[in-house]
Symmetry: C2
Subunit: 268 residues, 2 copies
Amino acid sequence: MAGDGTIGKACDVLDQVAAFERPVRFAELLDNSDFPKATLYRFLQSLTNQGMLSYDPDRQTYTPGMRLVRLAHAAWTQSSLAPIARPFLDALSRETGETVHLAQLDSSQVLYVDKRNAAKPVEMFSQAGKVGPAYCTGVGKAMMAYLDDDALNKAVSQQSYHRFTDKTLTSEQALRADLIRIRQRGYAIDDEEHEPGIICIACPILTSGGRLLGAISVTGSTNRMDFNQLEAWVPRVRRVADQIGTEAQAWRFPDTRQNVSNDRMQAT
Amino acid sequence: MAGDGTIGKACDVLDQVAAFERPVRFAELLDNSDFPKATLYRFLQSLTNQGMLSYDPDRQTYTPGMRLVRLAHAAWTQSSLAPIARPFLDALSRETGETVHLAQLDSSQVLYVDKRNAAKPVEMFSQAGKVGPAYCTGVGKAMMAYLDDDALNKAVSQQSYHRFTDKTLTSEQALRADLIRIRQRGYAIDDEEHEPGIICIACPILTSGGRLLGAISVTGSTNRMDFNQLEAWVPRVRRVADQIGTEAQAWRFPDTRQNVSNDRMQAT
DNA sequence: AACTAAGTTCCAATATATGGAACATGATGG
DNA sequence: CCATCATGTTCCATATATTGGAACTTAGTT
């Protein structure tokens, strides 16, 4: 996928380091890398200088750097649905008393951008920024169901179809069939496909033009509830999703003095 | 500042985009950039391809991209003190009932990596990843006071010394004097230097070798408390800071023994 | 002390980034 | 309706930065 010259390669290295999920040594990276020793070495140096990586001289290990956190703050604030969706998530979480997720699609994976946890107060970034599979989560399927053909084909082909539970959809065919049902229903269901005992309903967040922005879900556990109880929330979740979609569309105006001539539905 | 070839330049561009704090157009970036048009253009394209930036074709604007959020999750988990400090922050927040901040130093600025809010539930990433001035905040001064000479000189010279309140220290001289007192006391005080009505005490987080890792603070408002009340928490805060420092030092062991069969990964 | 593995530096070859200028596109206004 | 201007996009010869093999240094082991 990479092919953007030095920038693409540098991003690859960042991903590599991040993928280890622990401090990683030069030699380990070298093994998992196509780059020759000297090249990788210089990349790591530059990235470390820039604060994109951080280096522990004692242990000679690299980890993703704090500059990423600073940049991500800006990304989260500006490019994600989270700031817009926050009050809605709060409300939905309060009303349902269940865990609520807000997710977006990022290179065919689910990227969680915000969360309200049923029990605990909140868990910060430890949740936001997390990625998960698309083919076996409510938010993932809700989003894929509303992709255009090109994006859909790409997304569907990039899933790993790993069997997490005996209910996981493990083929492109099964997934596509489910996506059709989702579009008919207007919402997605995760019936213990990712984790045993965990069920969830999810609605896509769309612009008025039908462009996919993200998804929102309410999760429950089979201990405490069944699908009938969970599905009772669907109308509420869908309304929230619509509100977020509408606001997102309006909010995306980059200041720009008077409104641009290109206002098709700018009423409000 | 930049000097790491293409990587450094690309990072500059990322910072540029992030600095706008709103969707920004090509021409705006070009004005604020040393790069020639074509060069900047290609940088933006590559970064957008890589998901480090996101581009809105309708409005022709760039914002920091979601890939940063993914990477930052890894950075926050691995490189920040937050995962280690979390239980301590929880405890401190519960005991004091006040706002608690955990910060690290990043290019002479305060980078907040976690927070517990007094009243409100929590504000997510809107705080983690946020940056602030070092010379007029408790955590900032607590950290600067424990830098080695080189780093200190650099940090002190890079402050903006903007007057936020009439108590703000607005000269290098005044700051250096305060840093000496801080080292004597072992903790820093912010006496409405950043925001009127907001006072705070902060302790540095150090390794046993004295290397600076970060700082932790308890904040109060002059409405509800005075410095005597706030300073009563200092011993507790310092103990927490020490515990975090000790754990951080121990935790940084990357395991790295042979056992974990690395050669074979990628289950999915 | 000899050996091995990991990390670092060097430098000529060459692939890559560069940026001036020409080319689109589309908005603005006369 | 065409002219004009602002903005964004592409081209291409040139210069420069990246490249990677190999030599070197350092640290750890037998």
